[in-house]
């Protein structure tokens, strides 16, 4: 179900569209990075450090180098040192110039080991089997030191991120308070596609097939590391086996593969193993959060403090921005959000789906549930009571916020009114039921983006941009935008993306891709239309011979004279009459993130999740059985893919609440459960019945279509709603994710 308010009717946008690249995906014909084969290609397998802290004493590759098919065992000094890329996060706002990388140290930069699995050597051979055997045969000795692996996260220094009023005094004076800590284990992205690089040099030019969520940024980082002009590097990522943030920014295996290729004068393919996916390609770090809430007896929040500390690597300062949603979620005159870092012997963390707000809302929404219980108040009513009139953190109006409707509609669809608040009081088929709910929010911004649209004489159109489709449906959405604007069928639009030879586009991150594409595609169509009009006006053979360009209009794929009632001519007919193959236009639009100037509105999506869990104490069996989510994310461009995004997020939220945890051995610092058998993600049997509703209020502050993006918001709040339901079923408040069954057995 979806309700549309004040939206002009559209033919293609807003209607469920199967993916245009779907046929390639179901036939195995979509080529992901590791599916490419280049003549003479060699295989590379990295050797990872088996200590988490210390120095390399010696690397003995004599045996490995003599093995059949082995071309080289590369280590520090084997090739000219790579430059550090000098990353600057603010540069992601620079369309062509973005240079960002989370792990700053180039591979093989020194002999210091800072985390388990850090690459220390690279075996390269004719076949994969030979390279693997060679990597196994490399003997590395270390001078090991005790790693920093203390799971208790304490920060030396806290940085205030947002503050208003006097939260300490208000908390002290509040008649009802909550003061709790919430922990979250390290999570590893684990996209099913392994990170992969295929690098090939031709003279001084480098071509890389990479599993990346950002081809342009990846290109720029490689160019910086190799000290060559950007124009000399091409990065291709046409199909991506998803990334969830783990493939946003380059990791060290990619320049390693490129360096090996340059050194050996052959294309090199490097695919990480699943254990390596836990080492040097980022993770959502372990986080501890403290939430302090103060409220009046009627439920009005008077004080909100949110302190969080995340683990980061020894070299980098990745901050999990847990307080992102806290200042705007609820009304309160007094608030402080503060953040700190705890340096550990781990690989550099990175963004993982909904970075910041997802863990932050787990803590805040759990605390809100605890407050509702302390107040003896319904948790939906508590949230309705604290609706802010504006974003009190930024002091700005919301561009569009329909959070209360999410709450009331969700409650209605779920049947929340039938909830018996008493612990363990509800049952079905001999199972104890727990009903819980939580809110969600995610930012809505745009990256700068460009795109080219070509109109062709055969009636088709092509849209091209160096963006990525990470599984979110970008191919289809780009085609929808063009088909809608040109009034042609979807099947007549060809989409090219994932290649730096196309007009520059941003990383696929922050759920911002669709919103970022609207304006450049519209501008490109306008430019192409202008080119067509200019051609028509100047050509005596054309149906508009003699007309001035200014007297012709291009709209809905047709050219018409502004005056008189001559029939509008479709672009393909006109092109044929003009004897032209095609016209094209380039469009470009600036972004809003990171903001270069003070914004006028607070732009966020909102939502609410209602969750049912079943609990069988005799078997210690906990299941998430049913979820109803209502999402306020502006206009939904493709309801089929959008629903899939929210459902997929809910499934990931089940994993976050019940299963997902990367375990570091406190002695060696190694992630000990580095496999898909031991790092448990939700399977088909774990997926609940899901009902997703979109309430659609197009938010034209962000773009003309009013779309805000749906890739991440579904994960926000889900784990909190699940744990709130678990409390309702069991009376046990679990404040460390993932839940362990022994905690529930009391």
């Amino acid at each position: 179900m979806s309700a549309t308010a004040e939206a002009p009717p559209m033919r293609i946008i807003g209607h469920p569209q199967p993916r245009i690249e779907g046929r390639l995906k179901v036939t195995g014909a979509a080529h992901y990075a590791a599916d490419h084969h280049l003549p003479g290609m060699l295989y590379a397998v990295p050797v990872g450090a088996t200590i988490a802290k210390g120095t390399i004493a010696a690397i003995d590759a004599r045996v490995a180098e003599q093995m059949p098919g082995v071309r080289a065992v590369l280590r520090r000094g084997s090739f000219p040192a790579l430059a550090a890329a000098k990353p600057d996060f603010a540069s992601v706002a620079d369309l062509e110039g973005t240079v960002y990388v989370d792990e700053r140290r180039p591979p093989f930069d020194d002999d210091t080991v800072r985390y388990y699995g850090q690459y220390v050597a690279l075996a390269v051979a004719d076949t994969l089997e030979q390279a693997k055997a060679a990597a196994d045969a490399v003997r590395v000795t270390y001078r090991a030191e005790a790693p920093e692996v203390d799971p208790a996260l304490t920060a030396g220094e806290m940085t205030v991120k947002s503050e208003r009023g006097d939260p300490d005094a208000a908390f002290a004076a509040a008649p009802v308070t909550v003061d709790q800590r919430y922990g979250m284990a390290t999570e590893t992205h684990n996209p099913i596609e392994l990170h992969a690089t295929i690098a090939a040099w031709e003279g001084d030019s480098l071509t890389v097939h990479e599993a990346t969520q950002g081809v342009v940024n990846h290109r720029n980082v490689l160019a910086a590391m190799f000290g060559i002009p950007r124009e000399k590097v091409q990065v291709i990522s046409r199909y991506l086996g998803s990334g969830f943030g783990g493939k946003l920014f380059p990791w060290t295996h990619s320049p390693l593969a490129a360096a090996a290729s340059r050194q050996l004068g052959r294309p090199v393919k490097l695919v990480l193993s699943r254990p390596m996916m836990f080492h040097a390609v980022g993770q959502r770090p372990a986080i501890t959060q403290r939430i302090r809430l103060g409220a009046e007896r009627d439920g009005r929040l008077t004080s909100l403090r949110h302190d969080y500390v995340n683990a980061t690597s020894l070299l980098d300062d990745y901050e999990e921005n847990c307080g992102e949603a806290t200042p705007h979620m609820y009304a309160t005159p007094n608030l402080r959000v503060a953040s700190g870092l705890a340096k550990r012997s781990i690989g550099t963390p990175t963004s993982m789906r909904g970075p910041g707000a997802v863990p932050g809302l787990y803590a805040l929404e759990s605390a809100m549930d605890e407050l509702a219980i302390a107040l003896d108040m319904d948790p939906v009513a508590l949230r309705l009571k604290n609706e802010p009139p504006l974003d009190q953190g930024l002091g700005l109006p919301f561009s569009s916020r329909h959070f209360q409707e999410c709450l009331t509609l969700g409650a209605e669809r779920f049947g929340w009114a039938r909830r018996d608040r008493r612990i363990g009081s509800m049952a079905r088929d001999g199972l104890t039921l727990g009903w819980g709910m939580a809110a969600c929010s995610w930012l809505a911004e745009r990256f700068p983006c460009s795109a080219r649209v070509e109109l062709r004489a055969d009636g088709t159109a092509r849209v091209a941009a160096a963006v990525q489709d990470i599984g979110t449906g970008t191919y289809t959405i780009m085609a929808q935008m063009v088909a809608e604007a040109l009034a042609i069928p979807l099947s007549r639009v060809e989409v090219a993306l994932g290649d730096t030879s196309l007009p520059a586009g941003p990383v696929s991150g922050g759920s911002m891709m669709s919103a970022s594409l609207v304006a450049p595609i519209q501008a490109a169509i306008t430019r192409a239309g202008e080119a067509l009009v200019a051609l028509a006006a100047g050509n005596p053979a054309a149906p508009f011979a003699g007309a001035k360009a200014g007297a012709l209009r291009f709209a809905e794929g047709r050219v018409a004279a502004a005056e008189g009632n001559r029939q509008a001519v479709p672009f393909d007919q006109l092109l044929r009459a003009l004897g032209q193959e095609a016209v094209s236009g380039l469009g470009r639009a600036e972004g809003t993130f990171p903001p270069k100037e003070k914004p006028t509105h607070s732009k966020h999506s909102f939502g609410a999740h209602f969750v049912e869990v079943t609990w069988q104490p005799e078997l210690a069996r906990l299941r998430v059985s049913r979820v109803v989510s209502v999402i306020d994310a502006g206009r939904i461009l493709n309801p089929l893919a959008a629903r899939n995004q929210i459902e997929g997020s809910i499934v990931m939220g089940v994993g976050m609440a019940l299963f997902e945890e990367t375990d570091y051995d406190p002695r060696s610092g190694a992630p000990v459960n580095a496999s898909l058998a031991d790092y448990v993600v939700a399977t088909n049997a774990d997926a609940p019945a899901m009902e997703v509703h979109f309430i659609e209020y197009p938010d034209t502050h962000l773009n003309a279509l009013g779309a805000r993006g749906v890739g991440e918001i579904g994960l926000a709040g889900t784990a909190a709603a699940i744990m709130n339901a678990v409390y309702h079923a069991t009376g046990i408040r679990v404040r460390d994710l993932p839940v362990k069954l022994e905690q529930l057995l009391g």
Partner: protein, 160 residues
């Protein structure tokens, strides 16, 4: 275990999607790597190489198998079917068509494995309920979490 220093080769004849390939291979080669790196049938994916994700699911003599756990030399003359061999020319297998229609994927990386598992499931003893399908499809991880649509696609084919 073969001596990694030797260059032992083993002869094997594989019948893949109806075509016969007689090859001399490194005996360490898994069926998955052979399909992908030698025959360039890259529709079958590697997600773990340890039988834990299902991305590499293919059919060997009509039954679903994790190709990453199979040594190629152990499948001399076996009948192997991969995702590339499922459609008949331009005509998609009903399971492929159902996956497309139901949006039973996102990134598409697990999809070949899901579809090969799902097609094999049609001939397995599987109860009628969604829960039965979910259980039998739980060896195929979809990290994108498109499970609801995967079940819907399979049930549509089973119902028809």
């Amino acid at each position: 275990m073969p001596d990694p220093h030797s260059e032992v080769q083993a002869a094997v004849t594989l019948r893949v999607n109806g075509a016969e390939h007689t090859l001399s291979i490194d005996p360490r080669t898994t069926l998955l790597d052979l399909l992908r790196e030698t025959l360039h049938l890259t529709g079958t994916k590697k997600g773990c190489d340890h039988g834990q994700c299902g991305a590499c699911t293919i059919h060997v003599n009509g039954r679903r198998v994790n190709a990453c756990l199979a040594l190629a030399v152990a499948h001399d003359r076996d009948e192997i079917r991969t995702i590339e061999g499922l459609a008949e020319g331009d005509r998609l297998h009903p399971m492929q068509a159902a996956f497309l229609q139901k949006d039973a994927y996102q990134c598409g990386y697990c999809t070949a494995g899901q579809i090969m598992s799902a097609v094999a499931l049609l001939d397995e003893p599987c109860g009628p309920e969604d829960a039965d399908v979910r259980e039998l499809m739980s060896g195929n991880i979809c990290r994108c979490g498109a499970y609801a649509n995967i079940v819907a696609a399979i049930q549509q084919v089973r119902g028809s």
